[in-house]
């Protein structure tokens, strides 16, 4: 028996007068999947997210989420759906300015069922804000506010997290932290639908849905992401004293064909170009681990190299924020970047 998709959109349209924000969109998202929705401004990304959030209704087609037909459910039914099925993360955070971080999280509990202070505190600790419980939003940085927003979205254990440009208002360091949190949620089995215009963020998702004029366009090929992952793995292999790259390993032949690997003294090694690329990926990956361990006050992931790499555009900023660390939380060296101070 096949499991029905958690999100099932069939030929969905949304018109505002003569304007078609969505035009015959079909999409299925499986439980636990991370889908990034990308596209230029006005392509219908936010409209799609609003329909999935039960904040807007499709004017044609069928939208079924977790068995609820959002096109026919009553307004009250939609409110119940928002309360129980989805957690929303906004670009502008939308925290209540006169409530503390803790109360902002408890506000979502209050609408759902009963408030549980301990649980709300735990949710804030999980996003690294254990020491900021009583702070008002204006006393928190943008990244911290977004983390409160994430804690609020998660507090009622929704089946789906919908995030609309969650890093759009954040600097590089905070962007990395928030993305690390979202990656964690994904690993824990949450279903994520994330709207973004940033390709490097979209690349971290399982799947990218690109919209243009309210319709699906071809998404970027995933080969580049796979290649990055392979280069990082090979770098880690070669770091160990007896580490060797087996030619029969999946993707190695393609990397050789791309000029990233070659034979040196009968053994496979990185070319200059391959080394530079692998070094870059490893650096971003290990900085992400260091950042998570430091700022989110959580234990590092047991296995080194499982953290999602920081986006290339913010890597130097994060490195500087962390004080140019030499090793990751697992003790493995972090390759230095051009902006890092000379060792010693």
């Amino acid at each position: 028996m096949t499991v029905p998709p958690l999100i099932d959109l069939r030929d969905v349209g949304r018109s505002y007068g003569a304007l078609n924000a969505l035009d015959g969109l079909s999409l299925a998202v499986e439980p636990g999947e991370w889908v990034a929705v990308t596209g230029p401004s006005g392509s219908g990304k936010t409209t799609l997210l609003n329909i999935l959030a039960g904040l807007d209704r499709a004017t044609r087609g069928r939208v079924v989420v977790d068995g609820v037909d959002l096109t026919s459910v009553s307004s009250r039914g939609l409110a119940l759906y928002r309360r129980h099925v989805v957690g929303l993360v906004f670009q502008q955070f939308h925290l209540i300015s006169y409530l503390s971080a803790l109360d902002n999280v408890m506000l979502a509990q209050y609408v759902h069922s009963v408030t549980d202070r301990g649980e709300a505190e735990e949710a804030l600790r999980a996003v690294g804000l254990g020491a900021r419980l009583t702070h008002l939003p204006r006393e928190l940085s943008g990244g911290e506010q977004q983390r409160v927003c994430i804690a609020r979205a998660l507090i009622n254990r929704p089946k789906i997290i919908l995030a609309d440009e969650p890093t759009g208002n954040l600097d590089g360091v905070n962007e990395a932290m928030v993305m690390s949190l979202l990656a964690d949620l994904h690993r824990q089995g949450h279903t994520l639908v994330l709207v973004t215009h940033d390709p490097s963020i979209a690349a971290r998702a399982d799947r990218e849905i690109r919209l243009e004029h309210g319709r699906r366009a071809e998404a970027a090929a995933p080969e580049a992401v796979e290649q990055q992952s392979l280069l990082a793995e090979l770098w880690s292999t070669l770091e160990t004293p007896a580490g060797r790259i087996a030619i029969e390993r999946r993707g190695v032949a393609e990397a050789m064909a791309a000029g990233l690997l070659h034979f040196v003294d009968g053994r496979l090694a990185f070319t200059d170009s391959g080394s530079a690329q692998a070094r870059d990926v490893i650096r971003r990956e290990r900085l992400a681990e260091a950042l998570s361990a430091l700022t989110l006050a959580r234990s590092p992931i047991t296995e080194c190299g499982r953290e999602e790499p920081i986006a290339p555009g913010v890597v130097d900023q994060v490195c500087a924020f962390l004080g140019h660390p030499a090793v990751c939380p697992h003790g493995r060296p972090i390759p230095r970047g051009p902006a890092c101070c000379p060792v010693g």
Binding site: L55, R76, Q92, V111
Partner: protein
């Protein structure tokens, strides 16, 4: 959580909610003033209008003997009687002229304060002269200007003989009762309320009430407008917050409830303060206008203040319901 949310919101929006509270307070105070003053008006006005002449005249029955002097005291002792004066009139020159001799048990100006009296009321052998009266042989101890036929009178002390009439000022609300009591207690007397004065009392009271109603109505209308404007501004400022509540899964009815609770909390405090202010103003006004009035909370004042507060807050809640019903959370949260 609801309490914390309410308290935090009230604290955060002190200025805007303060304006609403002030408007409700003004409305509640006006209403309480109106209610409480009306409550005092009947008795107070009656006491005050005692200054404008007797409202009951007691005469001997047609064809009967004059009223004995002692009946003046009998009438004065009746419940509801504020003052009673026995009066006897005689022409100064029998069968000719307009000059009168008016004898009364006590000073007659007590019932006719519109008269201008200087000096003191006469004892035996003394006289008070009307403005146009001729000079007597007796000792003059005062002068009296009445503006009517009594200007040609000489006023003397009543010597204990029978009286022509007893002029009575009674509680305006108990005229009929007093008239019946006089008929029962004074044999051979014909007591009748002075209709002109009684109608004048009622008309004055009606006019005062209309004036107060007008002032109260204008205050209520202004307060309602202020509250409606302040509520609209407050809700415009809170659009994102309300959008967030809806996005989190609050139903519109629940959001209406939250806003209504907030406004109601403000209104309750403002209504209580308004009632105290209104009652105090009513007491002050009663002292100034009616000559008597003590501060105290009256049921009518409380009902009026609470009704005004509910009415005004009702306007604010209606504005809130209308705005929230029209609000689209998706566009608000997008910043449109």
């Amino acid at each position: 959580m609801m309490g914390r949310l309410l308290f935090a919101s009230l604290r955060h929006r002190g200025r805007q909610l303060g304006l609403i509270a002030l408007s409700v307070l003004a409305a509640a105070a006006s209403a309480a003033l109106l209610g409480a003053f009306s409550d005092r008006l009947e008795g107070g006005l009656a006491r005050d209008l005692a200054a404008f002449g007797p409202n009951i005249l007691v005469r001997a029955e047609a064809g009967g003997p004059p009223l004995p002097f002692g009946e003046v005291a009998t009438v004065e002792a009746l419940p509801g009687v504020l003052a009673a004066v026995g009066v006897r009139e005689r022409p100064l020159v029998a069968g000719a002229g307009a000059e009168l001799e008016v004898a009364s048990t006590v000073d007659l100006p007590r019932l006719h304060p519109a008269w201008v009296f200087a000096g003191r009321w006469p004892h035996a052998g003394e006289v008070v002269l009307g403005a146009r009266a001729s000079a007597p042989d007796a000792r003059v101890v005062g002068t009296l200007t009445t503006g009517d036929r009594f200007d040609a009178a000489r006023f003397v002390a009543l010597d204990g003989a029978a009286v022509d009439r007893i002029e009575v000022r009674a509680d305006a609300g108990r005229l009929a009762e007093v008239v019946r009591a006089i008929a029962a207690r004074v044999p051979g007397a014909d007591a009748a309320a002075v209709v002109r004065v009684r109608a004048g009392d009622a008309q004055l009271a009606r006019r005062l009430r209309l004036l107060l109603l007008g002032i109260g109505g204008v205050t209520l209308a202004l307060a309602a407008l202020t509250v409606a404007a302040a509520s609209a501004a407050l809700l415009a400022e809170r659009r994102v917050e309300i959008g967030l509540f809806l996005a989190l899964g609050y139903s519109r009815r629940r959001v209406h409830g939250l806003l209504a609770c907030e406004l109601l909390a403000v209104a309750v405090v403002a209504a209580l303060a308004g009632q105290v202010l209104g009652e105090w103003s009513a007491a002050t006004l009663a002292r100034r206008v009616l000559g008597a009035g003590t501060f105290g909370l009256t049921p009518l004042g409380a009902i009026a203040a609470v009704s005004a507060a509910i009415g005004i807050v009702g306007v604010a809640v209606l504005v809130a319901v209308q705005r929230v019903s029209r609000l689209d959370p998706a566009s608000v949260l997008r910043g449109e």
